[in-house]
């Protein structure tokens, strides 16, 4: 997994490339550890291959920490299916 971070004022754009699973979720968690100065967090999943429950746990925790100021961009078909099955489509702010 590759994580690229782009700061624009109080907005943080994070592009996640590869897989978000048990092996890689702790690495993304580490990258998102300090969000104290971030008012809007955007996760760009355009190049994310898939997500497992370890990634969903991280998303849920991050969503709560950001008090809803989290947006997920461009999830692929597989990730959209996971979001739909788990009800995350109703929870997260997703832009396809």
């Amino acid at each position: 997994m590759i994580v690229n971070k782009y700061f624009e004022g109080n907005k943080l754009l994070v592009k996640v490339v590869g897989r978000l699973d048990t092996t890689t979720a702790p690495r993304l968690e580490e990258e998102l550890k300090d969000l104290s100065s971030v008012e809007e967090l955007v996760l760009d999943f355009e190049q994310l291959e898939y997500i497992s429950s370890a990634g969903l746990r991280l998303l849920l925790g991050t969503h709560k920490r950001m008090q809803g100021n989290l947006k997920v961009l461009h999830p692929n078909e597989m990730i959209t299916e996971i979001f739909d099955v788990t009800g995350f489509s109703d929870i997260l702010n997703i832009e396809s």
Partner: protein
């Protein structure tokens, strides 16, 4: 393959399963579904089978080329049927969501068949998907 049930080995297990699925002419889209399911089930075994201690797990892939594939996990841990737990309520709002409990639910949704059996001292967990 025989491997220690530890989350540091998830990638190795996923790579092994992918290799075998390729040989069975599994479509790429379905390989991704297997990858997610393998990540969930192997993680469960790593966390729970041996109460957090190290222990062995054997992973095998069977099937018919172009038709279907099964992945089987065997461990010698405490008897544990991952598919027996009640499904989580996926309609709950964000405040009431627990972080977790979704892995096995995802596996059930992605696979055509899931099975568990306690055979002697072994937990045998199997997932199956048809290609068409």
């Amino acid at each position: 393959m025989d491997i220690e049930a530890s989350t540091k080995n998830n990638e190795k297990v996923i790579d092994f399963v992918n290799e075998r699925l390729e040989a069975l002419e599994c479509p790429v889209k379905l390989m991704t579904k297997f990858d997610i399911a393998v990540d969930e089930l192997f993680t469960n075994i790593a966390y729970y089978a041996y109460g957090g201690a190290a222990g062995p797990c054997s992973v095998s892939v069977s099937g018919r080329p172009g038709e279907w594939a099964s992945v089987e996990f065997r461990d010698f841990g405490i008897p544990y049927d991952p598919f027996a737990a009640e499904d989580p309520d996926v309609t709950l709002p964000i405040e009431k969501r627990r972080e977790g409990g979704l892995g096995v639910f995802i596996v059930k949704n992605l696979m055509d068949e899931t099975a568990y059996a306690r055979i002697g001292a072994e937990n045998v967990t199997t997932i199956t998907k048809r290609f068409v």
